[in-house]
């Protein structure tokens, strides 16, 4: 058939690129993750081991990094949700004249180079940074607060980075809530707070879930911001992978951790999309 030939012609260049520079490289991580790394000698190719995977859960250091990554993901997601909802609400339900400027102010940080945004937080949070200088000048503190290389810095930075995604998801969800339904609830005697709790919030639940999944997955995969604000000591999974490849040259451990991370994100997205589909079917 003619269209099949055209289709093959149109698709094959990209499929070839993705196969050669995405699928095969990822699959090649599999054997590496079952090989043994011997310090000083390199990767042993003669023996297979599951030790690299076991270590992720058994080793105290690895376990701490994994739990920290997950905890950070959850906390950043929650912060984005709490801060993002009012913004989305103002954009959708506020004065229509402010809608475009406010939307652009949300998109702008998203389009801005990630490294620049993270750098901005370093300028603010570092020991001799804007915030510490200001607080010292005001006489509120004597010695700089430790705002970087710890949970505080990562929370602030990551929340800032991923907040726009959450806002945009919530804007899309709020736009789908018919105003008549809210009006109906208030004519039936609901207070504004009750209208929000009983009508708006449940109707935007799919958007809340989609936004939360997105922010969570992005947060646990993030490398740049955790590295820039957390430094080489306050590790998450992505920065640990980076170090294992670049500094320690322990590729087997790094690839096992990579797999754990990739499988987690795929599973989370897959399960959530199945759940959303089922809910859509119920509605």
């Amino acid at each position: 058939m003619k269209s099949l030939r055209t289709g093959a012609l149109l698709l094959s260049p990209l499929l070839f690129v993705l196969l050669a520079a995405f699928v095969v490289p990822l699959l090649l991580l599999v054997p590496t993750s079952f090989q043994e790394y011997r310090p000083g000698q390199g990767i042993a190719t003669d023996a297979w081991t599951v030790q690299n995977y076991v270590r992720i859960f058994a080793d105290e250091f690895y376990r701490e990094v994994v739990l920290r990554t997950i905890g950070l993901g959850a906390a950043v997601t929650l912060c984005c949700l709490i801060l993002g909802y009012p913004v989305a609400y103002l954009i959708v339900r506020g004065n229509p004249r402010w809608r475009l400027p406010l939307t652009l102010l949300v998109i702008f940080p998203l389009m801005l180079n990630l490294v620049v945004r993270s750098f901005g937080w370093i300028v603010l949070l570092t020991n001799r940074g804007v915030i510490n200088n200001l607080l010292i000048d005001l006489g509120l503190i004597e010695r700089p607060l430790r705002l970087m290389f710890n949970l505080t810095g990562l929370m602030i930075g990551l929340t800032h980075i991923y907040l726009p995604f959450m806002v945009l998801m919530l804007v899309a969800a709020l736009q789908n809530v018919p105003r008549d339904v809210e009006a109906a609830a208030s004519t039936l005697g609901s207070s504004r707070l009750h209208v929000f709790r009983a009508v708006t919030l449940p109707l935007t639940a799919p958007g809340i879930i989609a936004g939360s999944i997105l922010v969570f997955v992005l947060t646990i995969s993030a490398l740049v911001t955790p590295r820039m604000l957390g430094g080489p000591t306050y590790q998450v999974m992505a920065t640990l992978i980076y170090d294992e490849y670049m500094q320690l040259l322990d590729w087997p451990s790094g690839s096992a951790l990579s797999f754990a991370l990739a499988i987690s994100t795929i599973l989370i997205i897959w399960i959530s999309s199945r759940m959303t589909k089922r809910w859509a079917g119920l509605a």
Binding site: G7, V17, N95, L114, V116, G120, R128, A238, S258
Partner: protein
């Protein structure tokens, strides 16, 4: 009936959050004009010397050049390959269009750092690590999902009959695509290309594993230089990026109503 508008408390909170989103931007810009090499608010003394330092520094110039070549190159390749593939998928020219779409979008789901290490290992194995071509292909892999996403979305918004009309009026398949389909999906593609450009331009997790010593990009330069501490010339180059981003965003908004595509 009294329209339900957000109350004062909600509005103020929302505006504060939007301000929070701009704070690093403002701080970086102020810092870049500051006389002192450490950063204070308000800046002590105004100067353009950090900008001069950046624009006369070969390291920065080369990094900016590399970043632009990489971003433009990968976006153009992604556009050509991505639009062709999306069109074939949209027209259901091949069976399994859903699986194909998932494959094309997969680089968006796999964490970048994982793609980075996978490519590092693979290209080391085949002995091509450090080549600029490899870096370019890697950027195509991470940018093409944005093109595919916007192309598929734009294509689904076209009235099929419009293409049929062109065919009946004597246009062959390619002419129809060139004169009718392409102009109609152009706004979406501009938005997708912008995302692709931005993604390539800011990428660290893939680039850092693959870039040869002469192929350092701007984000890699900033990323590695902050490990040495805060440097005002980083603020200056960041300010340049901020201004460029704002200009491009406003231009894209004027041309295509960009915010609709985000």
């Amino acid at each position: 009936m009294n329209e339900q508008r957000p109350g004062l408390a909600v509005s103020s909170l929302a505006l504060l959050v939007i301000l929070f989103l701009q704070i690093p931007v403002i701080v970086v810009m102020l810092a870049s004009f500051s006389e002192t090499s450490y950063l204070t608010i308000p800046p002590q003394g105004w100067t353009l010397k950090w900008f001069e330092a950046v624009l006369t520094d070969r390291t920065y110039i080369d990094a900016i050049k590399n970043s632009l070549i990489l971003a433009v190159g990968s976006t153009v390749i992604s556009l050509v390959l991505g639009v062709a593939a999306s069109y074939a998928i949209f027209r259901k020219m091949m069976p399994g269009s859903e699986a194909l779409t998932s494959l094309l979008m997969a680089p968006l789901i796999i964490p970048s750092v994982v793609i980075g290490v996978a490519l590092l290992q693979y290209f080391t194995l085949v002995g091509m690590r450090g080549s600029f071509f490899v870096l370019l292909i890697a950027h195509v892999v991470i940018t093409v999902p944005y093109i595919v996403r916007s192309a598929l979305a734009s294509l689904s918004g076209i009235d099929l009959a419009v293409e049929e009309a062109a065919r009946v009026l004597g246009a062959n398949g390619f002419t129809t695509f060139r004169l009718v389909t392409l102009p109609l999906i152009k706004p979406g593609l501009v938005a997708g290309a912008l995302f692709s450009f931005v993604t390539s331009m800011e990428n660290v997790p893939v680039t850092i594993f693959l870039a040869g010593p002469r192929d350092t990009t701007l984000p890699i330069l900033i990323f590695t230089s902050v490990e040495m501490g805060v440097n005002p010339s980083v603020a200056a180059v960041s300010t340049l990026l901020i201004i460029a981003t704002a200009a491009v965003l406003l231009a894209a908004e004027r041309w295509t109503g960009f915010h609709r595509f985000v």
